[in-house]
């Protein structure tokens, strides 16, 4: 447009096709903005630092942005600055809440909507489903050990444990190979790692790191094994994806944008932190196949079905299951050892090896 772009998204380190935060958020922006014919753009910061992100926000405002979407916790400090600097601009901060660099002050101003997700619930459902479906040899490949990924992973283990208990399996009868790739990329390292896991007998890998999933899917299709997707429903990306631990990134962005432009209810989000979880349908496994109302979203499972899913989902939604989202980890890289996982998450039936 001539007067610049009204909605702007600032990417963190990745691009908007990173199969992760950036992409999810950008899909939300596009979906909403095209439908409502609002000009929109995205900006890549010149430098991956707090001040670099702030400079990108400056640039977006200079370019006429009224609403700025910032995906990822890396924006917490820049948004803390920007919320004061640009009181008239609305910020949607995904997966973080504004604070000072030294964590001394946490403050979410009226013009900021802070959005968080209960990834552990989504991961829990995935782990539960896999074990209930008869799998005993599970894998987890997270991107980097950042909170969201950790939460997915811990939930996954807890879900597997819960199912094993429910099935009355013996101690250690379920085995999980747990691994962080150290990146969020599709590359041959990740593929080779997945390949190796499958070669060792792993039946399914929960690929929890953006584009890492592509690598895992490709390894799985070669090895005739299964994958659990993440963030969005990835069944359309590969036949190997039996289900996906979703979190409603795009949906949440659309909800907030809708609140700003259409329902005039910014106040529900502005100035506070909103959690998207099972209770408000913000996370879960997909229950529908897009474009085919009659299709069964659970058709790639052997036995696990919608009924079983609904049962466990409702338990979560009602708040009857309490899950751990983070645990104490000694290693500075954030990668937990098997012992740490087992003891902190009280795993008995599930035996963990890390890599």
């Amino acid at each position: 447009g001539d007067d610049g772009y009204e909605i702007a998204l600032i990417t963190d380190k990745g691009n908007i096709d990173d199969k992760s935060f950036n992409q999810g958020a950008w899909e939300g922006v596009i979906a909403f903005a095209t439908e409502n014919e609002i000009s929109h753009t995205y900006i890549k910061p010149e430098e991956a630092s707090d001040s670099g992100y702030l400079a990108a926000i400056d640039l977006a405002v200079e370019g006429g942005a009224k609403v700025i979407v910032t995906p990822g916790f890396l924006f917490e400090v820049p948004i803390y600055e920007a919320q004061t600097k640009y009181p008239e601009v609305k910020f949607i901060l995904l997966d973080g809440s504004p604070h000072t660099a030294d964590y001394s002050v946490f403050e979410t101003k009226e013009n900021v909507a802070s959005i968080m997700y209960s990834e552990e619930q989504s991961g829990y459902l995935a782990g539960y489903a896999a074990v209930m479906d008869g799998m005993r040899n599970l894998g987890f490949m997270g991107g980097m050990a950042v909170p969201a990924v950790q939460a997915f992973g811990y939930g996954y283990l807890q879900g597997a444990e819960a199912a094993a208990v429910e099935l009355g399996l013996g101690d250690g009868e379920v085995q999980v190979t747990y691994h962080y790739t150290g990146n969020f990329e599709e590359n041959d390292t990740n593929k080779a790692t997945a390949r190796t896991m499958f070669q060792e007998g792993t039946e399914v890998i929960f690929a929890c790191g953006g584009a890492v999933g592509k690598s895992v899917m490709s390894a799985a299709s070669e090895a005739d094994t299964k994958v659990i997707g993440v963030d969005v429903d990835q069944r359309y990306d590969s036949e190997t994806v039996i289900t996906s631990a979703t979190k409603g990134l795009a949906a949440s962005v659309v909800s907030v944008l809708d609140a700003i432009y259409n329902t005039d209810s910014w106040a529900t989000y502005g100035g506070t932190t909103t959690y998207f979880n099972a209770a408000n349908d913000g996370v879960g496994l997909p229950t529908e196949v897009i474009g085919d109302a009659s299709a069964d979203a659970f058709d790639r499972f052997e036995s696990f079905d919608k009924a079983a899913y609904d049962a466990v989902f409702n338990k979560l939604a009602s708040g009857n299951v309490s899950l751990l989202r983070s645990i104490e980890v000694a290693d500075p890289s954030g990668a937990a050892t098997a012992e740490e996982l087992v003891s902190a998450l009280n795993l008995v039936k599930v035996e963990v090896t890390t890599r």
Partner: protein
Amino acid sequence: MDTIYYLIQNMLPVAIPLLLVALGGMFSERSGVINIALEGIMLFGAFFGALFVYLVQDSSMGPQTILLLGMIVAAVSGIIYSLMLSFAAVTMKADQTITGTSLNMLIPAAILLFSKMYFNSDGITTSKSFYIRKMPVLGDIPIIGEMFFQKTYLTVLIGLLFLVAAVIIFYKTKFGLRLRACGEHPQAADSVGINVYVMRYAGVSLSGLLGGIGGFFYAVGVMDGNVNGHTGVAGFGFLALAVMIFGQWKPIRILFAALFFAFLRTLAYSVSLIPFLDNLGIDQTYYKMLPYVATMVVLAFTSKKSRAPKAEGIPYDKSQR
């Protein structure tokens, strides 16, 4: 035994791009043009190959047909891109290292720019699988079949064919003889009526062809048919240069050098399958460094006596005595 099959099956798709690109480098350097631009040429070929796959992946063509056509596209694009090198290095007599470096810088940026403009992406993502569980007939040969013709890509077979062709062209044809003469003593070649410029264009173009195909095969066999501007071909072009030097600018030795590197690389990702290595508990990072460190060690031992084509890097000037 399974582990050995596994290692070989995984090594070959990695070795083949290295082999092809290093062979390309060999043709270029033996004609007298240093080709630092291999990385860029690979990426260029990979990009257009993948773009082609992207455009036709929904058609009814079989994956192996697409792969072959994509290979041709990649070869042609590689040649075109390499012409930028030959133009600068042969016609304009520019510094070959600088030109090569600029070509390496150009293509990732161009891919990012193009992909962002047209796909809102950092590169091209395709969804065609070229993986072959088992090749007909060949895959049934005992042992060999399982090692080389199962769980693999067509690229492996084609790559070996290219190797054979390269050896024949290089040593058995008049073209090969003339090409090698131009890299050693262009004045001598000129004095017997060989057009040095044409031969150098040919040498560089062959490196474009093989580099482009190598890039596409890298995309297919290593990156699942995807290409992006960030990771590019992950330094494979440079590794191929090292392979070429290690292989002493000779095709068969280059084959062994390529296998050596590919093996180390595969090993690095398969540590957990090999109990002996797994038990050592060495940080994964060290294994990732292994191919690079091994390159250094190998070069340290071979460089003293390594003999590059004598005239490489020197622009040929007819009027210079």
